[in-house]
C-alpha cells in the first residue's frame, strides 16, 4: 500500500492498460489530468495514446523512479475473461468533415 498523499503532478508517470504515459497537464478544479506518451516514445510509429482521465480516480504506486499512477480496475484488453458477455463498441463515425457528405 502506498503512503503517497499528494495529488498527481505534471511529469509523473501514469500506467494505463499496460502502457506507460506521462502526465502533461492537471486541473484539480475540473478533476482532470491529461497524459501523453513519454517524450522518447515514437508516437507516430506506434499510435499516439494521448488522453485524459479523472484525477480523483488515480491511485499512487511508489516506484524507484518516483510516483506512478494507475486506475484501479482498468482493463487489460488482451486478457478477456472466460464466459463474460462481450459488449460491442459504439461507433461514432465522422466522415463528412470535408463537406463531401461521407
Amino acid at each position: 500500500m502506498s503512503d503517497v498523499t499528494r495529488t498527481p503532478q505534471v511529469g509523473d508517470s501514469i500506467r494505463l492498460r499496460g502502457l506507460e504515459r506521462v502526465i502533461v497537464r492537471t486541473d484539480a478544479a475540473r478533476n482532470k489530468v491529461w497524459f501523453a506518451n513519454p517524450p522518447t516514445h515514437p508516437a507516430r510509429e506506434h499510435g499516439s495514446r494521448e488522453g485524459a482521465c479523472a484525477m480523483s480516480e488515480l491511485q499512487p504506486l511508489e516506484s524507484p523512479n518516483g510516483v506512478t499512477w494507475f486506475l484501479p480496475g482498468a482493463r487489460d484488453p488482451t486478457a478477456p475473461r472466460q464466459g463474460a458477455i462481450e459488449l460491442g463498441p459504439a461507433v461514432f463515425e465522422i466522415n463528412s468533415a470535408d463537406g463531401s457528405g461521407g
Binding site: 494505463l16 492498460r17 475540473r30 478533476n31 482532470k32 508516437a43 507516430r44 506506434h46 499510435g47 499516439s48 495514446r49 494521448e50 488522453g51 485524459a52 482521465c53 479523472a54 484525477m55 480516480e57 486506475l71 484501479p72 480496475g73 482498468a74 482493463r75 484488453p77 488482451t78 478477456p80 475473461r81 464466459g83 463474460a84 458477455i85 462481450e86 459488449l87 460491442g88 463498441p89 459504439a90 461507433v91 461514432f92 463515425e93 465522422i94 466522415n95 468533415a97
Partner: protein, 149 residues
C-alpha cells in the same frame, strides 16, 4: 440490433456539455430485448420501460442496478484514427430468472430519468436470458465506444 451512439450523446460530447473522462454520473444499465435502440433515444425515460427488472437488479433513477463507470479514460489512437472512450468493466451481476437481455446503455444520471441523457448503446451480440446465475459483462477491446475519423 447494434451498438450505437445516440444523437444526444454525440451532441453533448461535441458541445462540451459532457466530458466522458471525468463525468461523475456516467452509469451502465441493462436493457431487455424488447427495446430496439434508436439513435433518437434522448433520455433514460425513453428507454426505462425496458430496463432489467429481475431480482438482483434495482432499476430506476439511482438504483444499484445502474453501475457507475470507474476508471474512465478517453484516448487518442493515431493507429486506427479514433478517439476512444473506455472504462473498467462493470462488476458482476447475479440476476434472477425472467428477463431476456440484449443491450446495455451508457447514461449520465442527472436529477431524474427525464433529464438524464442516453449516450450510447452496447449490443450483447445475442439475447442473454437471466437464470439466477452470475453474469459478467465485458466492454470490447476497442473500448466502450469510439469516434472514427
Amino acid at each position: 440490433m447494434a451498438s450505437m451512439w445516440t444523437n444526444k450523446g454525440a451532441f453533448i460530447v461535441m458541445s462540451g456539455q459532457l466530458d466522458l473522462s471525468s463525468a461523475a454520473g456516467l452509469k451502465f444499465m441493462l436493457l431487455q430485448s424488447s427495446l430496439t435502440p434508436l439513435r433518437t433515444h434522448n433520455f433514460i425515460s425513453d428507454i426505462s420501460s425496458a430496463e432489467c427488472n429481475v431480482t438482483g437488479y434495482v432499476g430506476g433513477f439511482g438504483g444499484a442496478g445502474r453501475k457507475a463507470l470507474a476508471s474512465k479514460t478517453v484516448t487518442e489512437d493515431d493507429t486506427n484514427n479514433r478517439g476512444v472512450f473506455d472504462a473498467a468493466d462493470p462488476t458482476q451481476y447475479t440476476l434472477g430468472a425472467g428477463n431476456t437481455l440484449r443491450h446495455a446503455a451508457i447514461v449520465e444520471e442527472k436529477t431524474s430519468d427525464a433529464d438524464s441523457p442516453v449516450i450510447m448503446f452496447n449490443d450483447m451480440g445475442a439475447d442473454k436470458v437471466t437464470n439466477g446465475g452470475t453474469m459478467d459483462f465485458q466492454f470490447s477491446s476497442n473500448g466502450i465506444g469510439y469516434v472514427q475519423t
